[in-house]
């Protein structure tokens, strides 16, 4: 099975988008880190196309390069070889044109700024006028159900609320693309379920393209239009699984046989990836 050869993801809005309209095009990307113990092959010949409006999850054991891939798309890491196009631009140009919002594993809110001023941070950096900033912050707070918490400081918020604030911050300047690196990894199951539903609604409302790193199978299946299964040493893609539930899916689809079927295929892919270890 040669999945590394650019598995092309079809857009889920009826196929009206041509190939040039791909939000992300990754072709033959390898990335090697030179560590003290010698070079580490974080990504090996990874190719992938993501169409606009997709929700693509990346799943795999730690060390499979899923975070590295996301960081390479964000121009936070530079591939050793291969090419990445974001909205038809290089990652560097895309970053300069503020094409994406990035949500990290930790909320990374600045503790000396109120929630509202944290959400306003990218707007300040990008030079939005004060009135525009205030309007966007109010909209962002509403989008993540944090209206009324704008004046609070990060330490006054629960972990889930902090992460919601960081999502509002990433969306405040209205980027086409949302890159999310295990945003709910540190939260408990109940909060995570709630945030997954909210994120799905948010994706539906905003129509953003989302790249979402996770290591939870149910989370990946519940959220995604496509699931990319990755395997470590070297980091590579071993399967791309379509996941075409309706966009406004509810939590109880997780009990349907279709859901179980996709989850099983993901689990199978992950196990297959592990058998390479030896």
């Amino acid at each position: 099975m040669d999945v590394a050869a650019a598995p092309k993801l079809k857009p889920n809005d009826g196929g009206k988008a041509p190939a040039a309209d791909a939000a992300i095009e990754i072709s033959g990307v390898s990335l090697r880190f030179d560590t003290g113990d010698g070079p580490v092959e974080a990504l090996s010949n990874v190719s992938l196309k993501v169409a606009r409006g997709e929700f693509v999850s990346f799943i795999g054991p730690s060390g499979c390069g899923k975070t590295t891939l996301l960081r390479a798309v964000a121009d936070l890491e530079t591939p050793t070889s291969g090419a990445i196009r974001v909205n038809g631009m290089s990652p560097h140009e895309a970053r300069a044109s503020r094409a994406y919002g990035y949500v990290f594993q930790a909320p990374a809110l600045y503790p000396w700024r109120s929630v509202a001023r944290n959400i306003a941070l990218p707007l300040e950096v990008m030079g939005f006028a004060k009135a525009e900033r205030e309007a966007r912050v109010a909209k962002g707070l509403e989008l993540v159900n944090l209206s009324g918490f704008g004046a609070k400081f990060p330490w006054q918020l629960s972990g889930g609320m902090q992460q919601r604030a960081s999502i509002a911050r990433a969306l405040s300047f209205d980027p086409d693309l949302l890159l999310m690196d295990e945003p709910f990894g540190a939260l408990d199951e109940i909060v995570r379920d709630m945030l997954n539903q909210q994120l799905l609604r948010l994706w539906d409302v905003t129509g953003k393209t989302v790249m979402f790193v996770t290591h939870s199978i149910p989370e990946a299946v519940f959220l995604s239009t496509h699931i990319v299964v990755m395997s470590p040493r070297p980091g590579r893609i071993i399967d791309v699984i379509a996941c075409d539930f309706p966009r406004d899916r509810a939590l109880d689809i997780r009990e349907t046989p279709e859901f179980m079927g996709v989850a099983n295929r993901v689990r199978h892919g992950l196990r297959e990836g592990h058998s390479y270890d030896g």
């Binding site: 964000a74 121009d75 936070l76 970053r95 300069a96 503020r98 994406y100 919002g101 990035y102 990290f104 594993q105 930790a106 990374a108 600045y110 503790p111 000396w112 109120s114 941070l121 990218p122 300040e124 950096v125 990008m126 400081f153 330490w155």
Partner: protein, 288 residues
């Protein structure tokens, strides 16, 4: 309440040790004085009592220092040249000017070092080297050199105070400006923020706790610098000048009184910065 008790216990313990040490150190001197005045029929009680109340003891007893401080701080008009308030104000002025120059210089250097990587390698060794030269050797040279340019009075002493105080500020602020974690820095990169924006919106506010810690060390160092400078050039007065005068005339009680005045001044400065720091950190919401 419990901590107040603990503090009182420690203070009382220290005073007890001080009394014992004073009695032991002064006893032989006092014995000689008894012998010189032809007195031989003194008891151990007499000896200890006299040892703790000598005019020029090796180590004055706590109550002697307290009495001297009372006399020179409260009972002498502050305009008198014998008043420790008079000399304390001179030292405070030099310290504050030196501290202001030193911390401005220290922060400026830290900004340069953090902004330009090559400056870290090329300047840090010189900054460290500047502090390895004993200030007591350097102070007279600074006074003489500045005198060549007709810079006299407060300025040379403030310069020496600044020389000692810039270093802890530089080291502390470099650490403070580098304190943001990689995630917070990555965030700024995803916004394509300029270095100046990253500095103003992230590095500077993140350095606030380090700022006040640096200021505390810098203020204490500035006071040491001012006192050393006054010892070098004692005709203008100041607590350092009182230390020198006391040692010329064997006035140990006066030396200790001046020492305590300097320590109190230093504690007051550091305490004031600590209060300012707590207020600022609460306003910046670092702490609940």
């Amino acid at each position: 309440m419990k901590s107040a008790l603990a503090i009182a216990t420690v203070v009382l313990g220290l005073i007890a040790v001080w009394y014992v040490a004073a009695a032991l150190m002064n006893a032989s001197l006092q014995r000689d004085q008894f012998a010189n005045s032809g007195r031989a029929d003194y008891s151990a009680h007499d000896l200890v009592g006299a040892s703790l109340n000598m005019e020029r003891p090796k180590l004055p007893a706590p109550h002697q220092v307290a009495a001297e401080l009372y006399k020179l701080v409260l009972a002498t008009p502050p305009t008198s040249k014998r008043s420790l308030v008079y000399h304390g104000v001179i030292t405070l002025e030099e310290t504050l000017i030196g501290f202001a120059i030193g911390s401005a210089l220290g922060i400026g250097l830290a900004v340069l070092i953090v902004s330009m990587r090559w400056l870290d390698r090329s300047m840090m060794p010189w900054i460290v080297a500047s502090q390895t030269v004993p200030i007591i050797a350097l102070a007279p040279m600074i006074v003489v050199i500045l005198n060549q340019f007709d810079i006299t009075g407060v300025a040379p002493k403030a310069a020496i105070a600044a020389y000692l105080s810039f270093f802890p500020v530089t080291v502390g602020m470099v650490k403070g400006f580098r304190s943001p974690d990689p995630l917070q820095l990555d965030l700024m990169r995803t916004y394509s923020a300029t270095n100046a924006q990253t500095f103003i919106k992230l590095r500077a506010p993140a350095s606030a706790p380090f700022f006040f810690a640096s200021m505390k060390v810098g203020a204490a160092a500035a006071l040491v610098g001012a006192v050393v400078a006054e010892v070098t050039k004692s005709e203008d007065g100041g607590l350092g000048a009182r230390l020198l005068a006391g040692s010329y005339y064997g006035q140990t009680v006066q030396i200790w009184a001046a020492l305590f005045a300097a320590a109190a001044l230093s504690a007051a400065l550091v305490g004031a910065i600590g209060v300012a720091g707590r207020v600022a950190e609460r306003r910046m919401a670092f702490t609940p």
